[in-house]
Amino acid sequence: MAYRVVCYINQFFAGMGGEDTAHVPPEFRPEAVGPAAQLDQLLGEEATVVGTIVCGDSYYGEHLEEARKTCLELIKKAKPDLVIAGPAFNAGRYGVACGDIAAGVTQELGIPGITGMFEENPGVEMYREKCYILKAADSARGMRTSLPLMAAFGLKLLKKEALGTAEEESYFSRGIRKNFFHAENGAVRGIRMLLQKIAGEPFATEYEMPVFNKIPPAPPVKDLTKATIALCTSGGIVPFGNPDKIRVSSAESYGVYDIGELEDLNASNYESIHGGYDRVWANEDPDVVLPLDVMREMEKEGVYGKLYSKVFCTTGTGTAVAHAERFGREIGEQLKEAGVDAAILTAT
């Protein structure tokens, strides 16, 4: 049995007109309309376009939530294995609608959704991480190259064939790094790239430098003697036995532990589970990484007001930055809510 495909197009490609009909609400037609008819031919015997959603660009743009809901309901009824939206080329409103549909079916219905756009279409940046957006020309003149590309890629998805890189498959990358085997080893590629760079020839770096979020520092504590201070560490110090099973490296979680009754960390109550440094001394005395002992002394001396009763702990080795950012946001919110004035973060 052939795979079932539903297409999404706008009023213009359905032959209903331009701006004057851009307000038409979505409708389902049990046939292949406009470019969908060509897609149906290109898909061959393995897949059939069982219907086309037609919707006005203005309507979709002005009723985003409602339009998506209606379209997804219509699509669901047609029981497709794949949804192809567009291609939208450089048409902005159409691009947003196509991206929204392709992303919506992928995320909400679990059906693969693909579309096609020109690189400057605003829909690319809005939806590239949520669905496959194949590269297309800037106008409908590119239909003849775009449709075969979308049909071939769609068939690959339907047949669950191994996919190449975003570049090889000609879609805008979804921002995911994946391991592939090159034809040559890294050293050979590296020396060639170096000679190209020296000669001023074009070369393609294999990883563009990431841009880091800059976090502005909090204002200084006004009166330390009244401040509540919290201890946080990425040094892998946890209660003995690692109750939350935080990973030794590449941590995807952190632990929150009550130290309200504790005066000192020692080899019997806490330990280091960090996979990135020599833990011999941290295990003998976990205070060397999470300095509870000194904090208690200074608390008694009145150097600062009060030590917060909980510590926040994780391992910071091989930890993905995305996880680290999440830990930071969550811990920050908890500290703020608890009225903590400042935090000391110890690393290793």
Binding site: F180, G186, H323
Partner: protein, 429 residues
């Protein structure tokens, strides 16, 4: 400096009465080989096993790999400055290589960052040691032995065993001889003044106990960057003494088989002039990082380099050393390429480096260490399969009841090697 590598290709390994090579088979006198290491009072026990490509064997946890080599002629001995060998500079004369053989050191876990090797199945594709004929040294430390002493004992045992195996095969004539001849920097530049002179900045993990590298027996973390001749590296002047993450640790086997050295040699006199190798520490302090990277840039400029290639070891903290090296070299007008892996998270969606600099415009990726792989059970496990729970890239739930494992790639030895040894690399999807 001229070095001849006399190679004996090894395509099989077995036990026998006398250690020798016959028809590309490394025959080993098991008892005699074991005696080389079993006398060490730091070990409670030691044993030898064999693991060949294609076999259903898992070796875990593996600490280091060493290629059997020894000097046939010329000054010094391989692994100078350790095992009681004089720290006499090496890299000249003739060196015997049992190419295709490896000694793997294995035993109850030293620290967290050792790895595993599968000799077949999907995990085998990620490590060079699924393709070598392996002599696996398995030891248990004496009770109460300090971790650092255990690491040193295991390190020395692997070197001793590899050296012993090569020495026993000295009488067999080599099948092929490769000549590595690189004269002084002045002569190199004079021979081909039109070609760009290239230096190789060879970053080594030197973060302290259990994360160290040794050059002529010197602890590299206490040294300034050192200019070395590539032939010295091939003669084992550089030794791994670390338990850093398995995927991107440079084993001693990788050091003598450094692919950047090989490629620079291959293109030397053709489209570049190979000026030399700068072995540089990855310090844990900012001052140490500044000192080493300024010194590297200075050495490169002093040698008249017109290009540099930098390889990293490890991830996270050393990403900063990598950035500082690239920035300082580029600031001096020396175009630079870096080779590094990425820690992009199990979903591949995180940024892959802990540090970045806009000067790092030419980046060779050797893969995402966090990507998950599934490996099936093996018929035979050498070592301690439960150790996966404590290895970087493993977790409590990694080892399943049937013996299969679901782990991060970083737990496989050599999987994302940052010398660029393998063909793996990250691409966008």
């Amino acid at each position: 400096m001229r070095l001849e590598l006399h190679k004996l290709p090894i395509e099989n390994v077995c036990w026998g009465e006398r250690t020798h090579v016959k028809d590309r088979t490394l025959v080993i006198d098991r008892e005699k080989a074991l005696a080389v290491v079993s006398g060490d009072s730091r070990f409670a026990s030691a044993s030898l096993e064999l693991a060949r490509p294609g076999e259903s064997v898992r070796i875990i946890p593996v600490k280091d790999a060493v290629e059997p080599r020894c000097k046939l002629e010329g000054p010094g001995e391989v692994f100078p400055g350790v095992l009681g060998h004089a720290p006499r500079t090496v890299g000249e004369g003739k060196t015997l290589v049992l190419e295709g053989a490896a000694v793997l050191t294995c035993g109850s876990i030293v620290a967290f960052q050792e790895g595993f090797v599968d000799m077949s199945g999907p995990g085998a594709a990620y490590t060079p040691f699924s393709e070598t004929q392996n002599v696996v040294l398995m030891v248990e430390p004496r009770e109460g032995l300090d971790q650092h002493e255990y690491e040193a004992a295991l390190r020395e045992a692997g070197l001793k065993l590899a050296l012993h195996l090569a020495r026993e095969c000295k009488d067999t004539p080599a099948e092929k001889v490769e000549v590595f001849d690189l004269p002084s920097v002045g002569e190199v530049q004079k021979a081909h003044p039109e070609l760009p002179g290239i230096v190789y900045i060879f970053m080594c993990i030197t973060q302290g106990l259990l994360h160290d590298t040794y050059l002529y027996g010197a602890d590299v973390k206490q040294t300034l960057p050192a200019l070395v001749h590539p032939n010295e590296i091939m003669d084992g002047a550089l030794i791994s003494g670390n338990c850093v993450s398995a995927c991107d640790k440079n084993t001693t086997w990788h050091h003598v088989n450094n692919p950047v050295v090989a490629e620079l040699y291959r293109r030397h006199g053709v489209d570049l002039n190979f000026l030399g190798v700068i072995v540089t520490p990855e310090s844990t302090t900012l001052a140490g990082k500044e000192r080493a990277t300024w010194y590297n840039a200075k050495l490169a400029a002093q040698l008249g380099a017109r290009g540099a290639v930098v390889s990293e070891e490890g991830y996270g903290n050393p990403d900063t050393d990598l950035c500082m090296n690239a920035k300082k070299l580029e600031d001096l007008g020396i175009p630079t390429v870096v080779i590094s892996d990425e820690a992009a998270g199990t979903d591949g969606k995180s940024q892959g480096l802990a540090d970045a600099t806009p000067e790092m415009t030419a980046f060779i990726s050797t893969g995402n260490v966090n990507e998950m792989i599934e490996v099936p059970p093996m018929e035979r496990v050498l070592g301690h399969p439960e150790a996966i729970a404590h290895l970087s890239g493993g977790a409590d739930e990694s080892l399943r009841k049937d013996g299969s494992m679901y782990v991060e790639l970083q737990s496989v030895i050599g999987s994302t090697n940052e010398l660029g040894f393998s063909r793996i690399g990250c691409r966008w999807i």
